[in-house]
Amino acid sequence: MRNTLVSATRVTVRWMAVLVAITLPLSPATAFEIEDERRFGLTSAANEMAVLSTTDIALFAPLAEAFLSQTPNTALRYVQATSRQVHAAIDEERAAFDLVISSAMDLQMKLANDGFSRSLPDDLVASLPDWARWRDRLVAVAQEPVVLLLSGAALPEGTQRPRSRRDLIALLRDNAALFDGRIGTYDPQASGAGFLFLTQDARMSDSIWRLAEVMGRLNTRLYCCSGDMIAGLRSGDLLMAYNVLGSYAAANLTQADGVHIILPEDFTITLQRTALIPSTSDHPELGVALLNFLLSDTGRRIQSEATGQPPFDAQTFRNQPHLRPIRLDPGLLAHLDAMTRRRFLAEWSAALDQP
């Protein structure tokens, strides 16, 4: 009886989806907030695939062009959104995308854990090391360190570049007046990636809480995105940005900006950009094709060129032991629990908001 009801509901939902598809073919119903959208490929292309991603369009554009050049008769609609919106689009709205790429590993893991992702072809999964995939549902397409950005102006003459969080805390304490109001970091409340970095920081070491206290005293400004923090540094508004995506920093900062990109040597969280093909996908075969392309030598080379990051592999982790890849496993789910998240954010706020 219960099953019948459920399937009846499903049928209704499907009919509604069909109706929506018929009546609104040009403006897909996107209740989730998108940041940007672009269509790659010819208008005459027979197939159109949809990609939902947190990656900036500018960074993805060369990949899309290269992929389409070797995939005839296909167009690619690229939708950029924040990681929380990406998760909501799939989890709550069941939006039809053929590939979902996000830097928020925990949210991606939750999508996969909750059964929203399709199983990927065996050969694709087998080509990846264990730490770069979870089952056959979620794979890493890129790795990048989460870095500390420090403006050259923030380092007084003769001062060493901080090499660890301890050095950083000392630097901030010693130059409180200089840094006051000119420190930026992610707002974990708003940004999925920011929350992930912070929970990983807390998992690695307690030093984050001391840093939070120091940063709170210096009226740290909270940002939604890496791009805004980088812009703040370039304009001189910020002297320091904590937990910035390495790929954005390398792509957007030039030598002339005089910004140091620091990989803390106590530990540098290394993020994996993960991809999954949602169960709602209309063209899963195109999703697999794009995924294969991203993981191919060509795809890796283009990503590497666009972000200025070396391709990450086991060798890199051996040579740079301070790079700590975030484990791609359901341990990521712990901090997504509503109560745990609430408690964690409360702790963060308490540390940051000094009376």
């Binding site: 854990n113 929970t199 496993d329 359901p330 341990g331 629990d337 745990t340």
Partner: protein
Amino acid sequence: MTQATRQWLRGKATRPASLRRRLVLQLIALSAVLALVLYVAVRLGAERASEATLDGILGAATTAIAEELRSVDGGPELELSPGTFSMLAAMGEERIFHRLNLGGSAVTGYDDLPMPPDTPTALTAVFYDAPYRDAELRLAAVARSLMIDNRPTPVLVVVGQTREGQRAIAQQLANRAAALGLAVFLIAVPLSLLAAGTLLRPIGRLAEAVGRRGGHDLRPVRHPAPTELQPLVQQLNGFIARLRSTLTQTETFIAEAAHHIRTPLATLRSEAEIALRQSEDEPTRVRLRSMIRATEESARSASQLLDHATVLFRAEQPAQDRVDLGTMTAALVDRFLPTADLKDMQIVLHPPTDALVTTGDAVLIEAALRNLIDNALKYSPADSNVSVSLARDGNFARLSVCDRGRGLGGEGLADLSQRFRRGPNVGEVVGSGLGLTIVSETIAAMQGRFELTDRENGGSCATLWFPLHE
């Protein structure tokens, strides 16, 4: 229908299968059952063991989460540890779902996660299976109570995990066990064949040894037999012994009887001959002559019965004498010359160019030759020749006795050499029907050959081949 017939019919209907086939089939069936049992046992065992292990981990994790739950400022506070979740998922990359109920309503986690069938008691995990979303989950639930607003409030922690990895591992183990079982089974087939062969070899040897024995071999079976077959062999030997003793008794009886008949017959005959000579009355003479002939017939029969008994007795354990056939034949021909003279017949002897020596029982050989020459003389018309020739024929000495008698009358050697069997054309010639039987049994005991052939222009030839002494 008698009991025996019914039994015979039943026996026909269900013909007993070969022992080897039965044994092999049973062994193979046994190993198939063993392989299956192995597969099932390993599969169930692997599933139980891994489930128990994983339940232990799941239960511990659920309990740990329940214990981490704290009441802070009158409200619950939970800090899920990523380590716990990692550990739960580590075995086979499982999916994890959790739920926290406070005072009967879900406060965090998956609020539609299935609830346990029974409410667990304090801090003891309850395990259950339930479908959730697109997966089959193994769930653990732990209950405790928490002070919320100064009132103890029941808390329920439910953690569920998929068991795909465990199932895959159990399946893998079971597959390995199945492969092992299959290997055991495959090895069992040739081993069964081998075992059956080894087991049945003594039986086969015994059967072969018994089968090889000649029809007249009445010696006990001395072939080594396995213990299980000893009763059979003993019974067989007992049977043979009884048969031999019966045969011996019979032959002895015949010999005794023949002997005892021959002597008074000789007296009777000589008395009758005297009476014949003295009598002048023609009807009396006719009667006396017929009496003499009947006496003669009886005497010959008695003599041949004696011969036959001798042959049978001696053939059983034949003596191994060296016999010079040339000498023996010449002597026999000499002895028959007076008889031949009576019928105006001639015995032509073709002696061999060299000495032909055979190995055998001299008494038997002489009896055989005597019977052949006697037959030739008996069935030949007066004034004809009997030729006796002896020559070398390869590894054999060939002895032929040819006459111009009445031939074989269309019967073969097999018929004529039967006991008491006489040809259809013997007419009034006296005979017992034992002569050729004696010859054929003698030659068989010596592993020689005996042939009877009709001769052109009438008569027949009896030919014997004796193996030559090496």
